[in-house]
Amino acid sequence: MTLAEESERIVRARAAAPVRRPAPRTGGVVRRVVSRYWTIAVLLVGWQLWASLNGYNRIVVPQPGEVVADVVGNSGAYLPDLLATLGMSAAGLLTGMAAGVALAVAVWTSPLVSGMTTPIALIMRSVPVVAMIPVLARVFGYGWQTVLVITTIVSFFPAFVFVAARLRDAPRSTSDVFAVLGASRVTVLRRLLLPHAVPGLLVAFRLTAPSAVLAAMLAEYLMGGRGLGVLFAQSVSFYQPERAWGTALVATVVSVACFVGARAVERRGLARMT
């Protein structure tokens, strides 16, 4: 197994979506909802019980109601930071995935480029990129540039690996048809390989979208500036527990929404391309 295959296998393994189980046969909608979301309900009830039974005061553990009230009542306080984080994540996703596709095409073009970049890609894979935020913060400065850099790096690797893999495994008979029709390499790339690589890009997108949001928030948390991470850091240091937990709640909802959205995009895209 070459290094490229090894790293590809790993990322592929990570791409496996949680299994879709067949829904229990008996019972109606209620049962289905209960069977899917009972764990979430248990979490919420547990939080409430834990907060009230221990008699924590609100500085230590605010109750779910108080947190939701702060988010809904003071949404103006959350919105600018939410938009800043989302903007940075989206920008990083775009540049990172574009760079990943570009390098994948470069690797496809030349075996030399491929041989030289593969170990670098493997090293990048093994480096805990998100843990490198402090280094990047020093190199690129405290500010939005660094947030963009980190979200870009996070988005880069999966796009590179999945697109590179798809560029290599176009169906043989279709490639033969292109060869017999006298297609140039550029035509093969444009009309066969790139469209064929779209599903790979979609998988990369599903994997990356929540990580990009998380990386953006961590970078903001460490460096300051704007964004949900900053809002969280500030509300912790100014003893605003509802705001801190509210930020956590908003971050969770955003992240889950990104995951669900990315998965929907992937499903629709796959249906279109295959």
């Binding site: 790993i10 093994s126 805990p128 402090p134």
Partner: protein, 254 residues
């Protein structure tokens, strides 16, 4: 790394080595020419620092702390995830809910867990718990898919033999799914290291994450890079270890 390189055919070694040499030379050149500003040291700066005794005790202690948190998190998270996956296989009614929970817990940004963890398990425990969650998710995904993908025919044979659900899971699905589960473990090991480092950002007293943040704030450039390299090395070591384990399992069970 050597475990990986050993399997690489010779003709791909040359460009690979060239690529790595180029990377180091480029990193050094950027430092020497100051292309990336003062925060980018030369390779020799970092090597000098790494070889000094003070640095070695400092980094050694941090490595031990982070390594311990990651290891405990890996074992606890892995076992917990495996138990949950088995529960899902034994009680099909609970399965979808567990899947949702895993997806949600994974999507919850670590930063959102921080306030919860700091109040429940304290500043020191946070890093272990985040490591456990990160590792656990990787194992859970691998284990559910491994248990679910046992060939239909095999399960039908067990059903016809009148095997109980428990014995089907233990005697058929689990052994058959072992390679996939070990694949999940190879992903979980670096994930645990990353989780431990990030967990230390929320107020731990010791560890590579602490060094990273304090070196960033105090502009201690060689320390910053040394800590980063140590974190990367720890993650790589965890990964290589698990790849070796996977090799052994594959030889033994397939």
């Amino acid at each position: 790394m050597s475990a990986l390189l050993a399997r690489v055919p010779r003709r791909t070694v040359l460009p690979a080595v060239a690529g790595i040499v180029l990377l180091v030379v480029a990193a050094d050149a950027i430092g020497r020419l100051g292309l990336a500003g003062a925060a980018w040291p030369t390779v020799t700066d970092v090597v000098d620092y790494l070889t000094s005794p003070t640095a070695q005790t400092l980094l050694g202690r941090a490595l031990a702390a982070t390594g311990t948190a990651a290891a405990i998190g890996f074992v606890a998270g892995g076992l917990g995830a495996l138990a949950l996956a088995l529960l899902g296989a034994l009680l099909p009614a609970a399965g979808p809910g567990l899947d949702r929970l895993a997806a949600v817990v994974h999507a919850v940004p670590l930063i959102a867990l921080a306030p919860l963890l700091v109040t429940t398990v304290g500043r020191e425990g946070t890093s272990t718990v985040i490591a456990a969650l990160a590792a656990g998710f990787a194992v859970f995904v691998a284990a559910t898919s491994a248990l679910a993908s046992t060939a239909r025919a095999g399960r039908d044979v067990f059903a016809v033999l009148g095997a109980s659900r428990l014995s089907t899971v233990l005697r058929l699905q689990l052994p058959a799914g072992l390679p996939t589960i070990v694949d999940g473990l190879t992903l979980a090991a670096p994930a645990a290291v990353l989780g431990a480092v990030i967990g230390e950002w929320f107020g731990a007293r010791r560890g590579l994450g602490v060094l990273l943040v304090s070196a960033m704030q105090n502009v201690q450039i060689p320390l910053l890079w040394s800590a980063a390299l140590s974190a990367a090395a720890l993650s790589l070591a965890a990964y290589v270890l698990l790849v070796a384990l996977r090799g052994w399992v594959t030889r033994r069970f397939t």
